[in-house]
């Protein structure tokens, strides 16, 4: 169980995340929505400490994350896999090696340095790729793949980590609709089969409604809605995306347009 308490992050003068308290249990697929700049990415990065919290605490099964450093921090990051909007694969390494980076933390340093991994790791990596229909590309350079294919490789890398929680930061924002479905499907499957919490920050309200078991909406760093998708009414959506205290947004958000069309 993941517990955030009064979590805050300050960049200069602005509070990117402002006192977020949240607990997520096993098997929950949480969609974090909100306008760009509302703090959803930062919130996810605070959990695996790619960003350092200014205030508040994160705990996993009661154990605090905030004080971790060195090996302890790396072990936490290893058990808490992350998927990025821009995939963050090494484009010049082959797909297999990119996936095996997911277990490198558990293998001796020198074997990882020469990119040597035991046959059992390789077999697992290939099988993970196979479930995402990517096994045939295992020896190709990651940079030669399309965006959707790269994101699938990134998911295979995340699953290689045997994660006890998955964070996905806008995983489908740069993908076409078909690949977006595949990627969301894979996250949903991981969530159900492994019975782990999955936090996904999403741009599109439609996808969030269809896949997530719970939706957390953020505005200006604060949680403004937390509940099942069915409780997310039109009024609340308007409030999230237009912002009561803001001047009206000039940019038509993709999500608002979808809601309006519905």
């Amino acid at each position: 169980m993941l517990e955030l308490k009064d979590l805050s992050k300050r960049f200069g003068d602005t509070l990117a995340v402002d006192g977020v308290t949240l607990s997520v249990g096993r098997g929950e697929l949480v969609g974090v929505i909100g306008r760009s700049g509302s703090g959803k990415s930062t919130l996810l990065r605070l959990i695996n400490r790619l960003a350092e919290p200014t205030d508040g605490s994160v705990a996993w099964d009661g154990a605090p994350i905030k004080g971790l450093s060195g090996k302890g921090l790396r072990r936490w990051r290893h058990s808490c896999a992350m998927i990025f909007q821009q995939f963050n694969l090494s484009p010049r390494l082959d797909v297999l090696t990119n996936v095996l980076v997911g277990v490198a933390a558990k293998r001796p340093l020198w074997t990882s340095m020469i990119k040597f991994f035991p046959a059992s790791d390789r077999a697992r990596a290939v099988l993970e790729l196979d479930t995402l229909d990517m096994a045939s590309a295992a020896l190709q350079r990651a940079g030669t793949l399309s965006g959707g294919q790269q994101q699938r490789v990134a998911i295979a890398r995340a699953l290689m980590q045997d994660p006890s929680i998955i964070l996905a930061d806008e995983p489908v924002a740069s993908l076409d609709p078909v690949n977006a479905e595949v990627v969301m499907g894979a996250l949903q499957r991981a969530c159900r089969e492994r019975d782990i919490p999955v936090l996904v920050s999403l741009h599109s309200l439609d996808i969030a409604r269809r896949y997530c078991t719970r939706i957390v909406a953020m505005a200006k760093g604060r949680v403004v809605f937390d509940g099942p998708p069915s409780a997310l009414t039109q009024t609340i959506v308007d409030q999230i995306y237009a912002g009561r205290n803001n001047r009206p947004s000039l940019i038509e958000d993709e999500a608002t347009m979808e809601v309006a069309a519905a």
Binding site: N88, R92, A104, A105, L109, M113
Partner: protein
């Protein structure tokens, strides 16, 4: 034109009247030409020296055909090989020294702005020193022979390569590094999986490029006594054996073209 042009203050300058601009232009051109002529006179570039020299040069060129190896082709080939060896050794030394310097010069490694600025300016200052200037002094220090040439090549390249390396490091994508970090690997493996695959091919291609240019530089270092093909050329120019000079120069150009070709192939494969 003056009839059509609107009155003074609203007229765009081009329509106004062509004369002031034209006069200014002519004046500026004349001033530049005068300055150039003054410089030429200062350098004693008199027409008569140019003429007498040209006739001499004509005789030199005439004696270049047909090129001849002077019965010494083996020695010429060996000194060409020596020149290449100097270029390789010089480039290798420069790379070894430039790698840590490049690391220090990268803003992403040394984030202190002032330190970064000073270090880069320092590199810029030394970038201006040509290899020949280094060679001259190293020959005096180490005696005649290729060693001085190798060190001179390395010294001339180090600031250039260090700057290139630093820029490569600064321009690399942070994404893969972050991706590896999020998997919980140690700092060394972040670099191994995130940075090295990005940076290594670029660095290798830059090094190949410097090998090419060092082959050209190494050829002239012999003139001041650093061995290699330059030494052979200098010897033959001094005794006016221009047929042999032509032979060596042609052979050398062939080698340059060959090296360029090989290096281009290798660099294309690295891309």
């Amino acid at each position: 034109m003056t009839l059509v042009a609107p009155s003074g203050d609203t007229a765009p300058p081009a329509v106004h009247s062509p004369w002031p601009g034209l006069i200014r232009g002519t004046f500026a051109t004349a001033a530049c030409l005068a300055a150039l002529a003054a410089m030429m006179i200062d350098l004693k570039m008199a027409p008569e020296t140019l003429l007498s020299g040209s006739s001499k040069l004509g005789r030199f060129i005439a004696s270049m055909v047909p090129p001849s190896d002077g019965g010494d082709s083996l020695r010429i080939l060996r000194s060409l090989a020596e020149t290449f060896a100097m270029a390789v050794a010089g480039t290798a030394l420069a790379i070894v020294a430039a790698l840590p310097l490049g690391l220090l010069g990268a803003k992403t490694v040394v984030s202190n702005g002032l330190l970064h600025f000073l270090f880069r300016r320092c590199l810029d200052i030394f970038r201006g020193v040509p290899a020949l200037v280094w060679a001259l002094i190293f020959i005096s220090a180490f005696g005649l022979g290729p060693f001085a040439g190798v060190v001179a090549l390395a010294f001339a390249d180090i600031p250039n390569l260090a700057k290139l390396f630093a820029e490569t490091l600064e321009n690399c994508d942070r994404g893969p590094v972050e991706g590896a970090r999020a998997s919980g690997v140690s700092k060394i493996l972040e670099i191994r999986f995130g940075l090295v695959p990005q940076v290594a091919p670029v660095l290798a291609s830059q090094c190949l490029y410097y090998l090419e240019s060092n082959f050209r530089h190494a050829a002239v270092l012999g003139i001041v006594g650093a061995g290699g093909i330059g030494f052979e050329l200098d010897e033959r120019i001094r005794i006016f054996a221009f047929d042999q000079v032509a032979f060596i120069v042609l052979l050398y150009m062939l080698c340059v073209a060959a090296l360029d070709f090989v290096s281009r192939q290798l660099r294309a494969r690295l891309a």
